[in-house]
């Protein structure tokens, strides 16, 4: 999909005045944006800015306290049909350590109604984990576990990928595999929200970039309007003393 045709598509994800509070504390407040197929939002911000909470709301793990989010017209957090379109990568691996990598990915595939073993193997292969697929997860390094976790999140070919610091624990080769996977997903029309502290990594994949602070977006830019070399400076300026 080209960038031009993508712009003509209706938004895949529409987020309007989304908010999430934990008691009196507003973790996410008045967040609005939209993403079309093949677009990637790189989301930056200091710890505690609300990035993970925003992703958890979009993944259906938390209910919003205010506003709404729609994926392909379906309300989030929605029912099974909406959740079937989302892939979640977290800094937690979400794996069962007593099972092998293949069993973990196969289990995720079956939850999505996929019984085709070749889809499982393809997902593992994309993260270069086929040779270690039958090793129990507890015997793998943290980086390898993260690769399996990414394969698990991608096995059903989601339309929206929510990636919360997915590069955590990955070595250089794993990071390259992930970048190339996310790029390929974008080209295939998947929308991505990528939370990362690494501006370079985020901007390399992004079509949009946002900076979050105290639960709100304080900047939201199209990538083509960003001078990548000066973005780090802008980031620090935007956050002031909190960086």
């Amino acid at each position: 999909m080209t960038a031009t045709s993508a712009r003509l598509d209706p938004p895949l994800l529409e987020v309007a005045a989304l908010g999430r509070a934990f008691g009196p504390r507003r973790a996410v407040s008045n967040v609005s944006f939209s993403l079309r197929q093949g677009e990637c939002l790189a989301l930056f911000g200091p710890n505690g800015a609300g990035k993970t909470t925003l992703l958890r709301v979009l993944a259906g793990l938390l209910k919003p306290s205010a506003g709404n989010a729609r994926l392909s017209g379906m309300e989030l957090p929605g029912g099974p049909a909406a959740r079937a379109r989302v892939g979640l990568i977290s800094h937690h691996t979400m794996l069962y350590e007593a099972l092998t990598g293949r069993e973990n990915v196969r289990f995720a595939a079956r939850l999505h109604g996929i019984t085709d073993q070749s889809r499982v193997d393809a997902a593992l292969d994309r993260m270069a984990m086929l040779p270690r697929a039958d090793t129990p997860v507890r015997s793998l390094s943290r980086g390898m576990q993260q690769r399996i976790s990414i394969a698990r999140a991608m096995v059903h070919s989601p339309r929206l990928v929510l990636a919360d610091e997915p590069y955590n624990g990955l070595d250089e080769s794993g990071a390259r595999s992930l970048t190339s996977l996310l790029r390929a997903l974008r080209e295939a029309g998947t929308a991505i929200i990528l939370v990362t502290h690494n501006l370079h990594e985020g901007l390399a994949l992004a079509t949009h970039a946002a900076i979050m602070k105290s639960g709100s977006f304080i900047r939201f830019d199209r990538k083509d309007a960003i001078d990548s070399t000066r973005y780090a400076e802008r980031y620090r300026e935007s956050l002031g003393a909190s960086v």
């Binding site: 099974p80 959740r83 079937a84 109604g113 070919s157 390929a184």
Partner: protein, 244 residues
């Protein structure tokens, strides 16, 4: 590297709407839990050892001249099953807490009911497996004629196990996200187990005494009613226990 296939309509359509598919998804989850337990065997071995040790302690504390085996054994049996079952129920959702595996489950397109039923099915197999080991041990220690009442006793054991598992699975889910999960589960669940233990012990006592099954039928009906009410109520309540 293999190419990426974007999701097709069939992949992303609501895959678990009909009841049969709710059960199919539950079976996928139950198989996963059983595979983990089969691989690690930690909860099963702990529960079996606990049950056997309980039988031994009760046996040596028992004065056969004061209380007959047939009067004592039903209470011992169901108290031990209840406590050993709690050990396994504790593990049911603790495996999901490790590295936030529960998030992957909740973010998947399976219904909350499927998750509960899957967990309960695995727990039922677990409790049944503990019963299979502990029942013959009870028969040996107390010299009980269990083979003669095997069929009705199996019915009572199944009904009691369903009730224990339905309530225990729900409270295991509630307790799993707390810091004191292992302490909280018995505190929450044991009051709800009282009717099951009472009905199962009374029914077992009548069966062991050689009375006709009809004499135990009121207790069996109580177990049946408990199972129906709590299996449905706990399945429906589960979705609310995991809401933030």
């Amino acid at each position: 590297m293999r190419s990426i296939r974007p999701g097709t309509r069939s992949d992303i359509a609501n895959p678990w709407a009909p009841v049969s598919e709710v059960v199919a998804a539950a079976w996928v989850i139950a198989r996963k839990d059983l595979a983990i337990e089969f691989r690690t065997r930690t909860a099963f071995l702990s529960s079996v050892v606990f049950a056997l040790l309980g039988l031994v302690i009760f046996y040596y504390a028992w004065d056969p001249t004061a209380v007959s085996a047939i009067d004592l054994a039903p209470g011992v049996l169901w108290v031990i099953f209840t406590f050993s079952g709690l050990l396994g129920l504790n593990r049911s959702f603790s495996v999901e807490s490790a590295d936030h595996a529960i998030d992957g489950l909740l973010a998947s397109p399976v219904s909350r009911e499927s998750i509960f039923i899957g967990k309960a099915l695995a727990n039922l197999v677990f409790v049944a497996a503990v019963q299979v080991v502990a029942m013959p041990a009870l028969a040996i220690f107390y010299n009980l004629p269990l083979i003669e009442i095997a069929v009705p006793l199996l019915g009572v054991a199944t009904l009691a196990a369903i009730g224990l598992v339905a309530v225990g699975t729900l409270f295991s889910a509630m307790a799993a996200n707390t810091r004191l999960a292992e302490l909280l589960l018995p505190i929450l669940a044991l009051p709800f187990f009282v009717p099951i233990v009472m009905a199962a012990a009374q029914a077992t006592s009548r069966l062991l005494s050689g009375r006709p099954v009809a004499e135990a039928s009121s207790w069996i009906k109580l177990l049946l009613a408990y199972d129906l009410i709590f299996a449905v109520a706990c399945t429906l309540a589960y979705a609310h226990t995991i809401e933030d």
